[in-house]
């Protein structure tokens, strides 16, 4: 499987390492070269400087051959825009995007973008840990 990840923060880097370790072809994009330091020393995929909301950068990352695209930068709107480019311009079969704002996440789920809100997921996780279930 070929995966293109946008954003090499803690989540992006960890996911890139995990997919790479499983033998997948991984390309990770970030606008900051320093962010690639987060990748493990054994990472065998490609790290590319570029902005995922730029179609040229996505092409360089091989998005046209990608099976999955994941947008995990710090900016909700950047993730949303990149996910829509991947889905509607490059027809990537599976597109997942992180949206911190739960309201925006709901709207884009409705528009057919597979979106995860860490805010909602983590709040639920904490609540379950505390054990507030009736």
């Amino acid at each position: 499987m070929k995966a293109v990840l946008m954003g090499c923060g803690r989540v992006g880097a960890q996911l890139a390492d995990m997919l790479d370790a499983e033998g997948h072809e991984v390309t990770v994009l970030d606008i900051d070269a320093l962010s690639f330091k987060r990748l493990s020393s054994t990472f065998g995929g490609t790290a590319l400087i570029g902005n995922g909301i730029d179609q040229e950068a996505l092409k360089r990352a091989g998005i046209e051959r990608a099976d999955v695209f994941v947008a995990v930068t710090q900016g909700d709107n950047r993730n949303i825009m990149a996910a829509q480019i991947a889905k509607h311009i490059f027809n990537v079969p599976r597109v997942i995007c992180r949206i911190y704002d739960p309201l925006r996440q709901e709207i884009y789920e409705m528009l057919g973008i597979e979106a995860l809100s860490p805010t909602t997921v983590f709040a639920q996780l904490l609540k379950d840990k505390i054990g507030g279930k009736g």
Binding site: N77, I80, L111
Partner: protein
């Protein structure tokens, strides 16, 4: 009309001023509290301090009754998302987004934005009109039909010079509307019309056939 403007930078500021002058109800949404104060000092309470991409903010300012929603922040992704939220959640009938990267004009249209506006594209077109040798310029867009009205000039060395229109392999859906010869009177083109150097051709074509039409007529 009730018009919401996202982004109180220079574009938003002058836009609001002009629209207020025309008697519209205008509200600017601006993240930066200081910008908001400056606008309020000058224009009265027409500025809301908040993030125009947040659904809660848009609910608060009555976006569901807005006639038009204009996003003119400096970031393409913010303008896209603000307009999409306005359009798909609050059903605003007309959304306008500023785009910085001209490539995003087509993308935004595809993603549901009614009117994407690229300053770069507008300037390029103005330049093209001023440069007499430029073979194709846009005159008008029929947005909902995906059609363009264009003006093609036949350059001196074009392979079509001296040929009848019926002998040309024009793109399938091209309609040649008018030919304005350099010196003679304008004519409505027929199959027998012969092209001359310097002819100006007004044509109606689907957007994606533009390059093909230009290549066929001018050889460039």
């Amino acid at each position: 009309m009730y018009i919401i403007i996202i982004g109180g930078g220079r574009v938003g500021y002058y836009l609001a001023k002009a629209l207020l002058g025309e008697g519209h109800e205008v509200l600017i949404v601006e993240k930066n509290a200081r910008f908001c104060e400056l606008i309020t000092e000058e224009m009265g309470s027409v500025c809301y301090n908040g993030d125009g991409c947040e659904a809660a903010v848009l609910a608060d300012i009555g976006t569901n009754r807005a006639d038009m929603f204009v996003a003119v922040t400096g970031e393409d992704e913010d303008n896209l998302v603000a307009c999409q939220v306005a359009k798909f959640k609050f059903k605003v009938p007309c959304t306008v987004a500023r785009v910085r990267n001209p490539q995003n004009e087509a993308l935004f249209r595809k993603l549901g934005i009614d009117v994407p506006v690229s300053a770069t594209t507008i300037i390029l077109e103005a330049i093209a009109k001023e440069v007499p040798t430029h073979p194709l310029t846009h005159l008008m867009t029929v947005t909902d039909r995906g059609l363009e009205v264009v003006d093609v000039k036949i350059p001196p060395a074009a392979p079509t010079i001296g040929k009848e229109i019926r002998s040309l392999y024009l793109p399938h859906e091209t309609k040649l509307v008018l030919i304005i010869p350099k010196e003679d009177k304008p004519v409505l083109p027929t199959g027998d019309t012969i092209l001359h150097a310097g002819d100006q051709i007004i044509a109606l074509i689907p957007r994606e056939q533009e390059d093909e039409l230009r290549a066929t007529l001018t050889g460039v």
